[in-house]
Symmetry: C4
Subunit: 199 residues, 4 copies
């Protein structure tokens, strides 16, 4: 089975999950004449929207780069992908939760929920790649350079521990945890650790 | 008519229906300081989300595998597909219903609604395939091996009776019925009865 | 400009508009023990969902068939398409309105709103085709048979008057009007007037 | 990296953002017998829907035209695209705000929010193009005519100042500002300044 159709389905889920995030940004009821102020108080919604959109965008870029190295897909690979997409499509839920709870006594629970979602997503992303390169790289395209495979494997390492650490930080400070989620997204945007600079 | 555009439209509906499921997971209003507890009480929402996402994912894999065998599409095939997609796009409705009703006196009605949707979907999936292979397989690509056609036909058999049975079980126990829906999804994930293991 | 990207965008809008229809089917709040009865009372929602899904599905089939005849697109053709898609994406709005209003004193206004949307959509669909075949068919692919062009033109004729008539009927009876909308959808499904039977 | 997958993701986000706009058109609760009147009072919702749909449609046409000139993408180009899509997917939020606030004392704040979104989107669109043509057009396909590049650059100029001006006008009159947003969309539909007439 070629990976073409898989990419189409994955592209759809990534694009829809990212675009649906906007439905979770609270639209204030206008009419009282203090909309400008109210819009200002909802800033965690906008930041949460931007961070989750970027995170899904980065995952899409990386998912696409991973699939480029894949020569053939088997059923297990397909279902690992569906589990990964199940996690990606779940992201709007904890995003809204964190945005609404950040300034309430529920901030910690919401930050943990966000982190657990992201850590689980990172785990499936790793599982997908580790499965593809297992048994001597049985799903990797023969024409792919071994050094690229090694560099992807290396770049996957920080994902799970970073999100797990940020989740643990939530038990000390939900704000610090939320800042770390944003920092992880920015780090990936700026450094592009996964794929080579000009890939 | 080639099946390329049909696949694009179908991919879109499968991906959107699966991703929309998250909009039906109840987001608790945070602020009371017991969000962790509240998140816990909504576990049927998460399970229902996961089961329906997997089910749609499996149907997408199988739909794609079926279309691979199709050499040409006629108008009847096209409209059977639209009826199938109409059912798939309906899945978020009974999913939410079942998640919200499972621990109320309405559990039975919700489990029946879920089962009727899934059984109807399976009926259209069967109709689609039976139509394609009718009249000596008039829509099947000539290069397709007869044994693959026979194996798909065989693998389609349990779908309708399984869902019909799980639906009937709802009249005895909604919980048992819901467990069966999850079991059917897991069964398909684990055994991959439809397509050969490494297809 | 080739029509490939246009089809991708159009496929997306058709698939999303059809799949979003489910968000407008009222989910009853379960818990009172009479969910089965309540589900029954919402039947206009299910019928409206099915009719609009089929209608969008048929429009997608026909839109795809029309684009198959197009050899090149210019900017006017592109924007006629965007106006057509603007109408298609609007369909969930009057669908919900009609489903909720059909058994209230507002049935007539809702049936008119549905009909105006459908008539406008049909007008843009006609405009798109008439523009493509204008000036000696300047956008039509040279390899396309003149008889196919003539048959498409013929098959487009009933669309606008049918919907305009069904809209006018709403002033006499909203139910008759709603039945006509369903009949038009079924008529297109069964007869497939636009494209040849086996296209 | 070729731009094919990027276009698929972008097409998805454009199509979904445009189609989601309908979810923000207020559906009046029918039943009082004055639905026709109520539908009339919501006209700003319909106009806002149409203007934003057209604006996203135009951006999609232009984005597609820009990508046609691109020979290769690097990581920075990819992330500029994700930031642009983040803005496009945000459009439903200020669209709803403006539609609901236009006839309230909050009209100004809503018109500014709409304008800031559009101006930011235009800034990223410009950044994307300016980056592509920087360093002697390092991302531009070699086969692309220099005069087309110059004409695109020229056509990009009015975008940011137009939206910035319309945003500033909101401080004098929200209605004039809203009219300017509609006028900018219509201007692009009618003149098609970006791409040559028959491209």
């Amino acid at each position: 089975m070629s990976t073409g159709r898989l990419e189409t389905f994955a592209d759809g889920v990534f694009a829809i999950a990212a675009t649906l995030l906007i439905l979770n940004v609270t639209v204030p009821r206008p009419g009282n004449g203090n909309l400008a102020h109210e819009l200002g108080t909802h800033w965690p919604s906008y930041v949460a929207y931007a961070v989750s959109f970027l995170t899904i965008g980065i995952m899409w870029v990386n998912h696409h780069f991973v699939l480029t190295q894949i020569g053939r897909a088997d059923r297990a690979f397909l279902f690992l992908n569906i589990f990964l997409l199940l996690c990606v499509a779940f992201v709007p839920f904890p995003t809204r939760l964190l945005a609404e709870a950040l300034r309430t006594p529920d901030a910690r629970a919401a930050a943990v929920a966000y982190g657990v979602t992201m850590t689980t997503t990172a785990v499936f992303f790793n599982a997908l790649w580790l499965y593809a390169i297992s048994r001597g790289g049985h799903l990797i395209d023969e024409r792919v350079d071994r050094s690229i495979v090694a560099s992807i494997t290396r770049s996957f390492r920080p994902g799970v521990p970073s999100y797990a650490f940020a989740t643990a930080v939530a038990f000390v400070s939900a704000w610090a945890s939320a800042a770390l989620y944003a920092a992880i997204a920015l780090f990936y945007v700026l450094t592009g650790t996964l794929s080579p600079r000009d890939a």
